[in-house]
Subunit: 314 residues, 2 copies
């Protein structure tokens, strides 16, 4: 398998396609009209999976509203926006309904990541699928008011929940996560977590905490996980990561020391890798079979850019 099968020069979910048309969220009449329009489409999410129809090896994720209802999607619809003048909605699905689909000839609930990494989904649909997954996962875990415990209700096309008892308003979460390639001259720091595939190493990462800048979050995480202090931190790009609502903030950072002390909690191992070794991993020709994340993930692009920038500079 070659990484090049993945069709994006960008990490997944980071290519903007949809017009969110936020002004329509307040227009209940227009939303009802769009929900009934034959041109409208729904993305149906069940936890980490989505409902698709296979046409050969290609998976179609944009269902007609009728198809979504026939599949057993829940009635609540999140308005995602417009694409080519057609409205896109997200709908959730219970596990029971997903199980019932096992006997369907037309639709299956498939793992999003698996579909995306093998190129089965249309690239143009990935950003809408990411919004759909974030939003549906949020509604599924936020049916009650965190302020008073009462049942809350969807409003504004699903972009807000309101508590009728205490009047509190609740908005979807977006959880910033820093992910960083730490370098020290011609070496970079990569680590692995226990649950990674055998031989895979990646960039270190961690949630940004309350009242913390990205730069401080990068330095804190690297120090906590690997005992490395960092100086300059540079931002690269962000990748929406709907598991369930993270936003990966890709950075590079310069190490100030070399002696790694792995915490054993987040990481099971970390070490310095030379450019030649990383280039071999990118080419899937590392002598020990070590690998890097798939181009689906921003970690791949952080590493690839580091290799290619230097190659370009020679």
């Amino acid at each position: 398998m070659s990484f090049e099968a993945f069709p994006l020069g960008q990490p997944a979910f980071s290519t903007h396609i949809i017009d969110r048309a936020a002004h329509l969220r307040l227009d209940e009449g227009k939303l009802a009209e769009l929900a009934a329009a034959p041109s409208s489409r729904a993305i149906v999410i069940c936890r980490d999976g989505l409902v698709v129809s296979f046409e050969g090896t290609a998976a179609r994720a944009l269902l007609s509203i009728d198809e979504a209802v026939q599949c057993g999607a829940n009635p609540g619809m999140v308005f995602l926006g417009l694409r080519d003048e057609a409205a896109l909605f997200a709908m959730g699905m219970s596990r029971d309904a997903a199980d019932a689909l096992a006997v369907s000839d037309h639709f299956v609930v498939a793992d999003l990541r698996g579909l995306a990494t093998r190129g089965a989904l249309a690239v143009a649909d990935l950003s809408a699928i990411a919004i759909a997954k974030s939003m549906v996962n949020w509604h599924q875990r936020h049916g009650y008011c965190a302020n008073c415990g009462g049942r809350s209700h969807m409003k504004e096309g699903g972009w807000k929940r309101v508590c009728p008892a205490c009047k509190a308003e609740h908005f979807p979460r977006t959880d910033p996560v820093v992910i960083m390639l730490v370098t020290s001259g011609d070496n970079c720091l990569l680590g692995r977590q226990k649950q990674f595939p055998v031989g895979m190493y990646s960039c270190l990462a961690g949630f940004v905490e309350a009242a913390e800048t990205f730069e401080d979050a990068v330095r804190r995480e690297i120090l906590e996980e690997a005992g490395i202090r960092c100086g300059a931190v540079s931002y690269y790009q962000t990748q929406p990561w709907p598991y369930p609502s993270s936003l990966m903030i890709g950075c590079t950072a310069e190490a100030l020391n070399q002696d790694i002390v792995v915490d054993g909690l987040e990481l099971e191992h970390a070490r310095w890798f030379s450019r030649d070794e990383v280039a071999a991993m990118l080419a899937r020709q590392h002598p020990d079979g070590l690998t890097l994340p798939h181009p689906f993930a921003i970690a791949h692009h952080l590493v690839r850019r580091w290799i290619e920038d230097k190659a370009g500079a020679k």
Copy 2:
């Protein structure tokens, strides 16, 4: 009043001082020991205010634990971390307790922003105060499980809430917000919201939405609020903004058109400003009395950098 009274060359809350010492959050025995240590300090938050003791014009925000309890702080303590080996905690306070402090000779509940902008708080304390405010505000609005409606409980030194009924875990929110200086050659776009002080203009801003990159959020917000399409977007820096849990992501963006169409919802007015005009606003010498945000806010620094970079390039 001169802006220079503000003691930071950085926006408020963005200077890292505290060691969060996250490994101690799991050590209940150690946290209990620290909570009883005479060297430990508490920051007491009541909504947008904090409890301080004035010594002349200087406001002391770090209270002893005994002082915090005497002031009527709630018993729940969030472990913020270590500074100079002393533990810092955050504590909340009810409105009733805050009202009762009105007769205190020693302590007052004062508005955080007012204290910070007039330089009454020690700069070294601002980042810990921001963490304290974010965390206390989060606990105050998240006493119930959003998943099942049951009462949730603080765990891990306040960095997590757990629901005993459904076992769901809840973590503090950090809400990314993009704030951007849009430029078109030697002009920049500034706007004003209805609630701004008379004559004040600032950078445009808005929440990053579910599954959205920063760059797309910048372009979407500028288009929605002002009808301007943007091309290249560059990241500048982040500022924690604990109202209650925002993280301001400062960017610059290049406009592709000049014809502003204000939405009338977020903004009441927006227009292009020349470098000379902005320089006069920074110097508080604008002929019409127009002003910019205080250096407390990242907007000030985005504008100042644009002026100073050009001055440096001449």
